[in-house]
């Protein structure tokens, strides 16, 4: 087991944003975290990434307890993450952005440069290497974030809504990229609220609602789970779906 999160909770003052979430991820898996807005999936994600220390439970990564470790320690241990709202280094070039990531494992500039170029080829950003990050639009930024974190050579890749805000054709290209990365043996945890994406990518999903995990399993099974349908669409749709299924 690469990642084991056990009964992870996070409270903000008196508000319990995440209550006892448990997740185990095997090496090479793609796991999806889904749920409506405010369900706690991003909170859970940020706990795993080390951005938000949990107020309860524990997180073990690669045999080491990282529950209370700071974000940079998570990166060093091999947990890489992207941000929901891309946090690219705007004034730096795309190559320089990726080099910052590459410097984690390659201390010499020449080695970091070589690693960054390799990642830029993988992610298809090679041609824009010398442009500043600010020249990119949303799809480019999301791609750059993935490139930057891949340069840190993570064991676990955490993607936070890597596809939100993209057009269908951009989504298709982004899915191809995630598949290509997965094919290299990367373990991936992806937060997404676009169902279509999860269905095509994840082997297993964890569904959140109101701070709790309400279902877990294969995507096809989960989307037909009445609890999940209710969480996403409300009572009305569950009844409608049920009526449709009857005859």
């Amino acid at each position: 087991m690469l990642l084991e999160a056990e009964s992870v909770s996070r409270a903000f003052g008196g508000f319990l944003a995440l209550s006892e979430a448990t997740l185990g991820v095997e090496r090479g898996e793609i796991v999806g975290l889904i749920g409506p807005n405010g369900a706690g999936k991003s909170t859970f994600f940020n706990c795993i990434a080390g951005d938000l220390p949990p107020t309860g439970g524990r997180i073990v990564f690669d045999g080491v307890d990282v529950t209370a470790a700071p974000a940079e320690e998570h990166a060093r241990r091999g947990i890489g993450r992207t941000f929901q709202v891309p946090a690219t280094f705007e004034d730096m070039t795309i190559l320089e952005n990726v080099m910052v990531g590459a410097f984690l494992r390659h201390h010499r500039t020449r080695d970091a440069h070589a690693k960054a170029m390799e990642v830029l080829r993988l992610t298809g950003l090679e041609a824009q290497a010398q442009q500043r990050a600010r020249s990119l639009g949303t799809p480019g930024r999301k791609r750059l974030e993935i490139a930057r974190v891949m340069a840190t050579e993570p064991k676990l890749l955490l993607l936070d809504e890597a596809l939100a805000g993209l057009t269908p054709s951009e989504i298709q290209r982004a899915i191809e990229l995630v598949r290509r990365i997965h094919a290299t043996g990367m373990t991936i945890v992806i937060v997404e609220h676009i169902m279509e994406v999860i269905l095509t990518l994840a082997e297993r999903v964890l569904v959140f609602n109101q701070g709790r995990t309400i279902a877990q399993g294969k995507p096809q099974d989960v989307v037909n789970d009445p609890k999940v349908i209710e969480a996403y669409l409300g009572h009305h749709h569950r009844r409608r779906r049920a009526r449709k299924a009857e005859p």
Partner: protein
């Protein structure tokens, strides 16, 4: 690939400046202005490491400048040692100050960090102004007459000019190497976004602290060079807030976070200051404030990246228009 003739011409002009003005009637005055300019460029370049590259706008750098100026003169005052020998000690004092200020205040970001540094600098200025050992409000002096070359007392400004120019070359060479190293990339990443930098494994607090220490040590050198030349320092000229503000204005005017920004800023601002001081008399410090304020307004409103950024933009617009959004198509 940009041509390197720009920097070459700049360095050649700086090297030849005292020779070129030696034919002028006011050579001594011009040499003095030139030395002040180089000294200001050193201070601003030192500030630039933490204030520009790392984006941590310290308004307390006068403490480090003051450490350099005071400690070098103090070793003469106490033990009659040449001020030059006080330099290593001055740098150590500045670095200790940097650690003491940086450790608690780097947990603050943005304006809060700047405000904390102002507060500490004013506190230190008040302590120095009331400390008999440091001459209270009057200040302290170095040797009045040279006991040997090591006292670094010259009648002309020209030797100081070349000493300062060598130090400036050293500081910029160091900055150049830093820009290309992991440390330099990490500083720029921190300026662009601490949270993202941390997620890529950048040890943010440690990196900021190291930049602050390096910057403090180099600023202390600037302070020491100041006291070598003037042979005198008081709380206002050593630790006054104007000392910090001048470094910031010069670096920001030329371009904070760029190699040549501070030098270019000094090339513009110092002659301007000297001119106003000459025209309206030495008491023109009020006018200096007005000029600083005006520059801050113009930069904040029109070009936060400074003159170098303006130059790049105008150059880019003239020679090659990058297609916005072209990268997204790929």
């Amino acid at each position: 690939m940009r041509l390197a003739w720009g920097p070459i011409a700049l360095w050649a002009a700086l090297l030849l400046f005292p020779l070129a003005v030696s034919v002028s009637d006011s050579a001594a005055f011009l040499d003095d202005v030139g030395t002040t300019l180089i000294l200001a460029a050193i201070g601003a370049s030192a500030w630039n490491i933490v204030g520009g590259y790392a984006g941590q706008v310290s308004v307390g750098h006068a403490i480090f400048f003051g450490s350099g100026a005071y400690v070098t003169l103090l070793v003469y005052e106490l033990w009659e040692l040449p001020p030059l020998l006080g330099l290593p000690l001055a740098m150590i004092v500045a670095v200790l100050f940097a650690v003491a200020i940086g450790l608690p205040s780097f947990r603050l970001t943005g304006h809060y960090f700047s405000m904390a540094t102002i507060a500490v600098a004013e506190l230190v200025r008040l302590v120095v102004s009331n400390w008999p050992l440091l001459g209270e409000a009057i200040g302290i002096q170095g040797p009045a007459t040279p006991r040997g070359w090591w006292d670094l007392i010259f009648r002309s400004s020209v030797p100081y000019y070349y000493i300062d120019l060598a130090v400036l070359a050293f500081v910029l060479a160091l900055t150049y190497a830093m820009e290309r190293s992991r440390f330099g990339y990490y500083l720029r990443a921190i300026r662009a976004g601490e949270r993202a930098a941390r997620s890529l494994g950048v040890p943010v607090l440690r990196t900021k602290l190291m930049a602050f220490m390096l910057s403090a040590a180099l600023t202390a050198v600037a302070g020491a060079l100041y006291s070598f030349k003037l042979g005198f320092v008081n709380p206002e000229s050593g630790i006054g807030i104007l000392v910090s503000v001048q470094m910031i204005i010069i670096a920001a005017l030329g371009g904070a976070g760029t190699l040549y920004g501070p030098l270019i800023g000094a090339l513009l601002l110092i002659p301007l200051q000297s001119a106003t001081n000459t025209i309206w008399g030495g008491g023109g410090s009020g006018l200096t404030f007005i000029i600083y304020g005006g520059i801050i307004l113009l930069l904040a409103r029109f070009e936060p990246g400074g003159l170098i950024e303006l130059w790049r933009r105008v150059g880019a617009a003239t020679f090659a228009r990058p297609k916005r959004g072209a990268a997204d198509a790929a």
